[in-house]
């Protein structure tokens, strides 16, 4: 009995641990996408944030300085994305991909130059990390709670505030927003900056919460999975949370199921289990979720006629 309880508890805890960066990223991406700016660069923002969090924490010795640096790094990339897509009306996917490439390269180059450890940052001591708050061993650091809180908060902002109404409007029909005398660009910049904030927290969680240091490409596609979660959730916060938790659970199971023999099948190859989140992404995106209802103006730069 006790064993079953502890198994369930551990599964839940590890699901939540894995899902935390996904949830933060998904809520960030949700703001951006709701405003009509597609953000393929979540991955890159998170990676850059993870690097700067670990680097700053290791140099200053303060986890909070690391968090601040992570946010600043992600916001810098968010501004770059906004500059390219809002001010200069560039292609949003191209800008996002460029940000991912930039982050993948720059983190390694800076890491090698500053710490000479093949792109890694020095391992962080406990005092330089975000530590579990209430449940030692469960990894429930403050960002896990922040992620959980971000979901109702995102819902509330989008559904119940003036900013949310305008955000939804600008993602559906920027022309109407313009005609109502509101600034399309300023609304979209705010959305993109909110996205940067949340992606920054997600990055900090990876390198100074869940792990003790940065290693190259440590985001491993989680930014894209967060993007997939937004789509499964049909651009709604609570369902997106559900999608993140499913991914988290699959990941947690992958760790638990390694080497376990399934009756009648034999030992499940580790690779197959690890591939599950990605396979699920493909499977769901291929039509399982039915008609996705993206904001109508997502991906389309807004141009005044003259």
């Amino acid at each position: 009995m006790d064993e079953a309880f502890s198994f369930v508890f551990l599964m839940l805890a590890s699901t939540l641990r894995v899902a935390t960066p996904l949830v933060l990223c998904a809520m960030g991406g949700l703001f951006s996408e709701k405003s009509g700016i597609v953000d393929v660069g979540l991955e890159g923002k998170m990676l850059m944030a993870a690097f700067f969090a670990a680097a700053t924490a290791s140099v200053t010795g303060s986890a909070w300085a690391g968090v601040a640096a992570a946010i600043l790094a992600a916001e810098a990339l968010a501004l770059l994305h906004g500059f390219a897509c809002i001010t200069y009306r560039g292609n949003q996917v191209v800008s996002g991909v460029a940000i991912n490439i930039l982050a993948a390269g720059l983190t390694v180059v800076l890491g090698t130059a500053w710490f000479a450890r093949g792109g890694q940052t020095p391992p962080l001591l406990d005092g330089q990390r975000l530590l579990p708050l209430f449940l030692p061993g469960a990894g429930d650091n403050i960002l896990v709670y922040a992620a959980l809180l971000s979901v109702p908060l995102t819902w509330w902002i989008i559904a119940r505030t003036r900013f949310g109404l305008r955000l939804r409007a600008v993602g559906e029909m920027p022309l109407a927003v313009d005609a109502a005398g509101l600034s399309v660009a300023w609304l979209r910049y705010r959305a993109v900056l909110l996205c940067g904030l949340l992606a920054g927290l997600a990055g900090a969680y990876l390198s100074i919460g869940q792990n003790a240091g940065f290693s190259r490409d440590m985001t491993a596609g989680q930014g894209f999975i967060a993007l997939a979660a937004i789509i499964f959730g049909k651009w709604r916060p609570l369902p997106a949370l559900g999608a993140c938790l499913i991914f988290g659970l699959l990941d947690a199971m992958a760790i638990r199921l390694q080497g376990v023999r399934v009756p009648g099948v034999g030992e499940v190859p580790v690779q197959l289990i690890q591939a599950m989140p990605y396979l699920l992404t493909m499977f769901l995106l291929a039509g399982f979720i039915g008609r996705a209802v993206a904001p109508k103006a997502a991906g389309v730069p807004y141009e005044k006629e003259h």
């Binding site: 119940r160 029909m173 005398g181 509101l182």
Partner: protein
């Protein structure tokens, strides 16, 4: 007796100028709109009416000139300024968000606080008051996507009033309405005027000017040509002023000499992947030497009907026989084969379906007919032959400028349409399908296009015209079919048709 100090006009424009690149869209326009009147601004497409109003509403900045509102000079840098000065605009394309409720659309930009709840409650009360005062009732909680076009327009008007506008600009408000809805709109405008609202009505439909306005301004080629009291003028005079020469609004044509049936549609239905019936049991017979007109409000299946008849989409049910070939769900056609059989198609949306905007005019002039002689030899295009063909078409259809090498997108809408029409008619097709023959085309070119269609008919071509312009259908067609909700709801002879009855049929009311 004239008062010594006349009351300040609601709006006064002085010497407004605006250029877009090399196009001088508005040239030194001055006008005066009195408080509490309905003023019409007429002009052909491209005369500068919409540009002028966009300047007044702060969407564009004027290059020179002054705007006075209620006797004060004002700066219109953005719509926010216009709204602050009590000016509201109902755009031709509604500025409504489909997925929002009426209430949410109303408050957008005027939410009255950081949180929505309070603003929405206040808006609900205000909406009830407006509904009472102006007779504009609408359910605040319904999604805009579920409203009819006429109702959506009412939401637009309410939105503008909600923002406290005292001056209301309507840009081509009747373009998407049935005649009944248009009448209703005009009654609403009269009510607004009685309550002291100033209304500016921009349109190219003279009948509406005559029916609804107190005073009318005529624009031509960016200039304000003349101002008249509506009761002192007539449609004929206004038409002449708009175009700058005498125009014949009616089309005289001989009685049709109908021949054999060239196109027969039987029980055609089209169901899309969501299961929506876009076409429902449509039957049509089209004979050589006649023009059949399809009337209807946009979005009642006319576009889909054209696509099925042209072989672009296969019908889900039913059968289509064109020029001796039969198509059905299992034997779909394709537009290239249909062309070979003698079916020509002038699509509704010429920019997307009728031409490639970035192509030269000469390339547009052979699009769809490019394979094989005389344009292609040994798999290569014969440039000089194509150019000569285009030059010949331009001459015959009076396309201006006569430059086969110019990009298609650089021609005006009317000239683009003439080029596409020339391409299709030049092949002397047996069946000619024409969608919105004069959409975005100015009055001068409308006359020409109509005469060419009648000429094709007299040469024995079977012509099918789909148009949302009722006047056009009435003057062109030998028989009129009315479409509503994907069905042909009735057939009318133009001699016996009146707009009221057609309008009722277009709105789906049983007029039998």
């Amino acid at each position: 007796m004239q008062a010594l100090t006349p009351a300040a006009a609601a709006i006064e424009l002085r010497g407004i100028e605006k250029s877009f690149g090399s196009v001088h869209a508005v040239r030194g326009v001055s006008l005066r709109i009195e408080t509490g009147t309905i003023t019409g601004i007429v002009g052909e497409n491209g005369a500068g009416k919409s540009t002028l109003m966009s300047i007044l509403y702060g969407l564009y900045r004027a290059d020179a000139g002054e705007i006075w509102v209620d006797g004060q000079p004002v700066e219109m840098a953005s719509p926010r300024d216009a709204i602050a000065h009590g000016i509201g605009m109902v755009h031709q394309h509604f500025m409504l968000i489909d997925s929002f409720t009426v209430l949410e659309n109303m408050v957008l930009g005027a939410e009255g606080g950081l949180l929505l709840a309070g603003g929405l409650a206040a808006a609900r009360a205000e909406l009830a008051r407006l509904a009472r005062d102006y007779g504009l009732s609408i359910d605040p909680d319904v999604r805009v996507a579920n409203l009819s076009v006429g109702e959506q327009q009412r939401v637009e008007i309410l939105k503008v009033l909600f923002r406290g506008a005292r001056i209301l600009i309507l840009d081509e408000p009747s373009a998407v309405l049935t005649p009944q809805e248009t009448d209703r709109l005009f009654r609403i405008l009269q009510t607004l005027r009685e309550r002291g609202v100033t209304v500016v009505l921009i349109t190219h439909k003279l009948r509406e000017i005559m029916a609804a306005t107190d005073r009318v301004y005529v624009m031509r080629q960016g200039r304000m040509v003349v101002e008249r009291r509506t009761r002192d003028t007539s449609s004929e005079e206004l038409a002449e002023l708009m175009v700058g020469r005498k125009v014949r609004l009616d089309l005289d044509k001989a009685a049709p000499r109908q021949g054999e049936i060239l196109l027969r549609a039987e029980h055609l239905s089209l169901v899309d992947d969501r299961g929506v019936r876009l076409l429902d049991d449509v039957g049509i017979e089209l004979r050589a030497g006649e023009i059949v007109g399809i009337a209807g409000v946009t979005g009642n299946g006319q576009s889909e009907l054209l696509q099925v008849l042209a072989g672009i989409r296969a019908p889900s049910e039913g059968r289509l026989t064109v020029c001796g070939r039969t198509l059905d769900a299992r034997h779909p056609g394709n537009p290239a084969d249909m062309r070979v059989l003698g079916l020509a198609h002038v699509p509704e949306d010429r920019l997307r379906q009728g031409m490639v905007a970035a192509f030269e005019a000469s390339e547009t002039s052979i699009l769809g007919y490019q394979d094989g002689p005389p344009f292609t030899r040994h798999y290569l295009l014969d440039g000089p032959a194509v150019g000569a063909h285009c030059a010949q078409l331009m001459e015959r259809f009076d396309v201006r400028p006569r430059s086969p090498g110019l990009r298609s997108s650089h021609f005006s809408g009317g000239n683009q349409q003439k080029l596409v029409l020339a391409r299709e008619i030049a092949r002397q097709p047996k069946v000619l399908l024409v969608g919105q023959p004069t959409r975005g085309v100015d009055i001068g070119a409308i006359e020409f296009i109509h005469r060419e269609l009648v000429k094709a008919r007299d040469a024995g071509c079977a012509v099918l015209v789909v148009s949302v312009e009722l006047d056009e259908i009435l003057s062109l067609a030998d028989r009129i079919l009315v479409m509503f909700a994907g069905r042909i709801v009735g057939e009318v002879e133009p001699g016996r048709a009146d707009e009221r009855r057609l309008g009722l049929m277009m709105a789906g009311a049983d007029a039998a």
